[in-house]
Symmetry: C2
């Protein structure tokens, strides 16, 4: 008889967010779940880690799982604390999310959800980040449950290539409107910022970062943005080598 | 007659760190310098951005440049604020650093310095992150000045490929010991964490993240780690597409 897999769950929206409640409920069907997630929202934290201050853990009981803690740090801190302190072993699977909002294309580098999944891959285990392209407070995380279960089952059985995690983005659709799953690449896209300047009650300026999303590859059909816009769940295999291999020869020609 | 280039300078160690003082002094030789850097150390902040709270700018005068502000946010926030609020144009060059400590290999994804450089590339301009592999408070940032000037001059003249920035790491050596520059790729390496658990005065646990660096490619001679260990300044062309292109075909075979 096989042992039940050990599944670690985290996110970036915080331990009490609806998205992680949906994900831990699914994870429990597949194995023993240990959950360690930020004690507050950590969206946009990218691959930040806490090195200039200390971390705290607090036992919580939102999820009815094997072990559960909130952490004062970032999503990546949560993975490091889980693997190296709480579990003292590499889990069989790391799940991050379900994020409230898209982590497709360029969003992957700003995303705490995906940075946690990438950190899981760096720790040497199969990792998946899930995001629902719906920012509303009453987003329905249950419409894609069957697909999420299929992805988890397949990854648990076949494992992922070393150092690679999955960036899964789910369109904001009803279950019967989702057309299926596409394995695609990260679209070339960007945010064009609009800085919203305001005055505080003392007359001093403060700023909000806002922006408009720009997809530079609207006509490519092999990208995550295309898949989502056309009713598919996108899966991008994601890794941490940022080298622009195609530029190495070009740069060797510079006079340095 | 050519106009002087507009050069934007930032870092992650904070606006008064010795490394950015050294870099702004060099930048002034090449153009008009605008500087906007974090008001406190932001090491390990990765590609974090501030979306759940507000940002502040404060005029400062450490660097004797055209314009200079400290910012309450992250290194990536600094680039976004500079391009979209302060300058209202894309500068001719973004320089980040000189970082106190290495940003080679896997460090690139945790690095605020390199995330600022990558954000410069996303904004559409040539960007370079500089790091000195010396964490000591009395690190000598002047030993590599001639090399940094050569790299800046060459990049200003020839520009970088679209979306690509440079990750420049300088070994801790005297000027006449540096053997030259190598254009290389990011080594496969990782940190093996050691979580340092301590008790506060009230008997409750708190934690420091520490770790040991592991280079998995000690015998490869085309990596940044090899270049630095062998007395060369390493340059890795760096970009923000995290897709594992080589895994796409493999994943298409999964039953999804």
């Amino acid at each position: 008889m096989h042992e039940r897999p050990l599944i670690f769950v985290t996110n970036d929206d915080g331990i009490s967010a609806p998205g992680i409640l949906a994900l831990s409920a699914i994870a429990k069907k597949f194995g023993d779940v240990v959950l360690l997630a930020p004690d507050k929202p950590q969206s946009g934290m990218g691959h930040a880690i806490t090195i200039n201050s200390t971390l705290r853990l607090n036992q919580t009981n939102f999820h009815n799982v094997l072990q559960e803690y909130s952490c004062s740090g970032t999503p990546v801190d949560c993975v490091k604390m889980a693997v190296n302190h709480l579990l003292k072993r590499v889990p069989d699977l790391v799940l991050s999310g379900i994020n409230h909002g898209s982590n497709s294309s360029i969003n992957v580098i700003y995303s705490g959800t995906m940075s946690a999944a990438l950190e899981g891959a760096l720790e040497g285990t199969s990792s998946i980040g899930f995001s629902l392209c719906d920012y509303s407070i009453d987003a329905d995380f249950t419409q894609s449950t069957a697909y999420i279960e299929k992805i988890i089952a397949e990854v648990l059985e076949k494992k992922l290539p070393k150092g690679v995690c999955l960036n899964v983005n789910i369109p904001k659709l009803k279950a019967d409107e989702i057309k299926g799953i596409k394995v695609v690449r990260q679209a070339q896209a960007n945010w064009v910022e609009k800085i919203d300047e305001r005055k505080d009650p003392y007359g001093k300026s403060y700023f909000w970062l806002t922006g408009e999303f720009m997809n530079f590859e609207k006509h490519s059909t092999d990208t995550d943005e295309w898949a989502i816009a056309n009713g598919y769940i996108s899966i991008v295999p994601t890794q941490s080598d940022l080298t622009s291999h195609s530029s190495i020869q070009h740069l060797k020609k510079l006079e340095l």
